[in-house]
């Protein structure tokens, strides 16, 4: 057979192959419509949510809103200074606790742990389970162990920071482990072959290689921590304080708590303030996420 003949017979055979029947094509169309609909509803919901918050909140947003203390009686003079300062301090405390603990745990599990030992498997399963514990339960833990009970700190800034740190610790560990695992074994073997100790290998090769991933994970975990309301409600964060926390053992508030308090207020003016506070919270989160994405794109190692 010549090439032309092969091509002709192939073409002939293609027309013999069963075409999708009319009913099949109808189902295909319906399924596509359903999928586009689902994506559309998701986008529409997010769009509406942002629009609603912006419409209520933007008119209330001003420099004096950010630099005034909340007020229970005069919505026009109320602001979010104490809540914003509280949120920033909580984030700092959480970071100080969660970064060393999360990274060392991830290093242990990836670089040292022998997976055939039951205690290492226990740590692993335990972290997976902790990641799924509802945040309100961390609030109960904070109330029973940190605010009262063994630590007995009272409902102060440090107690809030520790509670949030425990809440996001599993997230940091899981993301840091993935980043460490992405460093190929050949890098470690090369370093060890040149005479480096295991710790030198980790410190000089593995950590620098996984740093972008780890930092991204930490930022995402912190942005989850500052958006949490339930645990702070349970441990008893202050509602609308007219002072900034002046130390680790001071009463505190946070943006989500302030938003919650204003949302519950029967006066519509305060509800609009809640929308403005949401905008501030979302801007903070957006900044953090942009930094995370930028870091990921700028420093991500391709092996």
């Amino acid at each position: 057979m010549t090439g032309a003949q092969i091509a002709r017979s192939a073409l002939a055979q293609r027309t013999v192959l069963p075409r999708a029947s009319g009913a099949g094509r109808l189902w295909d169309l319906l399924f596509r419509i359903a999928m586009y609909g689902a994506i559309g509803i998701g986008m529409l919901a997010l769009g509406t949510l942002l629009f609603d918050v912006a419409r209520d909140g933007l008119p209330k947003l001003s420099w004096s809103f950010i630099t005034s203390f909340p007020s229970r009686i005069r919505p026009e003079a109320a602001g979010i200074e104490s809540a914003l300062v509280g949120t920033i301090l909580l984030m700092a405390i959480t970071a100080v606790i969660v970064v060393p603990l999360g990274v060392t745990t991830a290093l242990y599990l990836e670089e040292y742990a022998d997976r055939t030992k039951w205690w290492n498997r226990l740590v692993e399963v335990n972290i997976q389970n902790l990641a799924a514990v509802p945040s309100v339960v961390y609030g109960i833990l904070g109330l029973a162990f940190i605010v009262r009970g063994p630590l007995g700190l009272g409902n102060v800034l440090l107690a809030g920071g520790i509670t949030l740190a425990l809440l996001v610790l599993p997230v940091v560990i899981i993301v840091a482990r993935e980043a460490i695992r992405a460093v190929p074994p050949s890098i470690r073997e090369g370093s060890l072959a040149l005479g480096a100790t295991q710790w030198q290998t980790i410190w000089k090769q593995v950590l620098p290689g996984s740093l972008a991933g780890i930092v991204t994970g930490i930022i995402l975990a912190l942005s989850r921590a500052i958006g949490e309301t339930a645990p702070l409600l349970v441990i008893g964060a202050a509602a609308s304080p007219r002072f900034n926390p002046d130390g680790l053992f001071s009463d505190f508030s946070a943006l989500p708590i302030q938003i919650f308090v204003w949302t519950q207020d029967p006066n519509r003016e305060f509800v609009s303030l809640a929308a403005a506070a949401i905008l501030v919270l979302m801007v903070v989160l957006l900044l953090m996420n942009s930094v995370a994405i930028w870091l990921r794109n700028r420093y991500e190692q391709k092996w």
Binding site: L46, A113, I140, G227
Partner: protein
């Protein structure tokens, strides 16, 4: 030396779990010293903060309220989330995919308090009352449940998409080679092959919905209601805990103990769901790697 120090850090996560269980158990045991277990588990009236004869500790309305609100949420999130996952994994071109995934990530990163605000100030008054003309209570299950679904949607979509993307291309190519259409490949080859991962996504979504606090606290109301009318107000376990604990209730009082006993019930339910989900994910990973 280094190894020991690192292990000590790893141990802290185990200690966290131990502390959670310990703190929950201690008050729970003390609670059951005052209230019989049967009255708690089977009682149908939940009024722990009332006094005298009006006080009752039946957890059934809280549990059914939690499940009811989660069911409404899942009714919305499961079909939408799975359709999004199928689209992203099987149909979307790489460029479209790169545009849509960040939107889902943004949705997943919105704090729950914002969803609560949206449910109370927009979804209930504007969408349900004005647009759809349903006469709902200011706090109602329909609004809280729907927005709960919106919260869970990205979780379900991303886990299910991971499961479907993990199905090897050779399975799809084999089916196409046999003359199957795109729809047949998706529904009869990819979907069943990824089923355990998809089920894990659903369980994870359910567990998130059950543990969610603030949306229900703000938009679902604070009355432990035993019924199925979606226009009425309901309370969930997590919302009860947050509403009752404000840092000023006396240690050892019965109100204080109810927080822990409800917290323990919630902890057991979510832990069971999570264990099931971990097991399923492990199974679907074993098949193809």
């Amino acid at each position: 030396m280094v190894r020991g120090a690192l292990f000590a850090a790893a141990l802290l996560s185990v200690l966290t779990t131990a502390a959670i269980v310990l703190s929950l158990l201690r008050e729970t045991i003390s609670f059951f010293g005052d209230v019989p277990v049967g009255d708690y588990l089977l009682g149908t009236k939940w009024t722990p903060l009332f006094s005298g004869d009006q006080q009752s500790f039946g957890v059934v309305p809280l549990v059914t309220g939690t499940l009811y609100l989660s069911a409404i949420g899942l009714l919305i999130a499961v079909p939408l989330g799975l359709l999004c996952a199928v689209y992203l994994s099987e149909y979307a071109r790489p460029r479209v995919r790169r545009a849509i995934k960040p939107v889902l990530e943004v949705l997943a990163g919105v704090p729950t308090i914002v969803f609560g605000f949206f449910a109370l100030t927009f979804f209930t008054p504007v969408v349900l009352r004005d647009f759809l003309g349903i006469s709902v209570n200011q706090f109602n299950a329909l609004s809280a449940g729907t927005i709960l679904g919106l919260l869970v949607l990205p979780t379900i979509a991303s886990v299910a998409e991971d499961a479907m993307s993990a199905v090897p291309a050779s399975l799809r190519e084999g089916a196409f080679g046999l003359g199957a259409s795109k729809l047949q490949v998706t529904l009869r080859v990819v979907f069943p092959a990824a089923l355990s991962g998809i089920v894990a996504a659903l369980i994870l979504g359910a567990s998130r919905a059950i543990g969610e606090t603030v949306i229900i606290l703000i938009a679902g109301g604070q009355t432990a209601n035993l019924g199925i009318d979606p226009t009425q107000s309901y309370q969930s376990m997590a919302a009860f805990i947050a509403a009752t604990s404000r840092g000023d209730i006396p240690t050892g009082s019965i109100e204080y103990e109810t927080i822990f006993v409800v917290g323990f019930t919630l902890f057991v339910i979510t832990l069971t769901l999570n264990a099931a989900s971990i097991r399923l994910v492990r199974r679907f990973r074993q098949v193809y790697e």
